[in-house]
């Protein structure tokens, strides 16, 4: 099974090992979206972060598992935004939503399951790209809340 992880999955795991089950699972064919890589590097401002990101990306890059978009896929993204209903016009101006659409298309291009914490964005994307396979994982805050709730 091909899998790809959204930026928030890596960040939560780097923070406190949230989503370790998915990231450390053997037997899945793991790919990395180049857009996720860009977002991670944008957030890594220290030497320690740079070292960590270099280590993280290396096995993906060595194995040719970093997925980039081609011109046809960028055109498809253009169509996606052109066809968005008016209520999403403001959302479509935001970089994080554009990045998530790019991540979705990279996952779709290789037929990977995409793991994310961002249900809001990916519900909107999935409604328009039905063939996208999205798996939602709880955010760290939701996991903590779930643990402390009385049964």
């Amino acid at each position: 099974m091909k899998v790809m992880f959204d930026t928030n999955i890596y960040i939560s795991f780097i923070r406190n090992r949230t989503h370790a089950d998915e990231l450390l699972r053997r037997g899945t064919v793991k790919y990395l979206s180049a857009t996720v890589l860009m977002e991670l590097w944008a957030g890594g401002r220290t030497r320690k972060a740079e070292r960590l990101l270099y280590q993280l990306q290396k096995p993906y890059a060595d194995a040719g598992r970093v997925v980039t978009l081609n011109s046809e896929q960028y055109i498809a993204i253009g169509h996606f935004f052109a066809d968005l209903p008016p209520e999403y016009r403001e959302l479509s101006k935001k970089a994080d939503f554009l990045n998530d659409v790019q991540i979705a298309i990279t996952a779709l291009s290789i037929g990977a399951n995409l793991y994310t914490e961002n249900r809001i964005h990916f519900d909107i994307i999935h409604r328009r790209i039905k063939s996208l396979k999205v798996k939602y994982l709880p955010t760290n805050e939701n996991q903590e809340r779930h643990k402390t709730q009385p049964s």
């Binding site: 930026t7 928030n8 890596y10 960040i11 795991f13 780097i14 923070r15 406190n16 090992r17 370790a20 990231l23 450390l24 053997r26 037997g27 899945t28 064919v29 793991k30 977002e39 991670l40 944008a42 957030g43 890594g44 401002r45 220290t46 320690k48 972060a49 960590l52 990101l53 280590q55 993280l56 290396k58 096995p59 993906y60 060595d62 194995a63 598992r65 970089a95 994080d96 990045n99």
Partner: protein, 64 residues
């Protein structure tokens, strides 16, 4: 170029046949090598994840 070596080992023929189909390769040699390659790549990625996990708040979520 990796070092290739001739081995005489017993392998599960059913798995080899399945691997040829999965990887869409012609020969059994290619199928076995591809399966081994996949296992090694997966291990490298998991080890890289292991090293990154639990390092704390060192990557900001810029696009949020």
């Amino acid at each position: 170029m990796p070092k290739m070596i001739k081995k005489t080992i017993e392998l599960n023929q059913h798995y080899i046949d399945r691997a040829r189909l999965i990887f869409k390769v012609r020969t059994e040699k290619e199928a076995v090598n591809k399966a081994l390659e996949m296992a090694v790549i997966d291990d490298n990625i998991i080890k890289a994840h292991e090293l990154a996990g639990g390092e704390g708040d060192i990557i900001d979520e810029i696009f949020k």
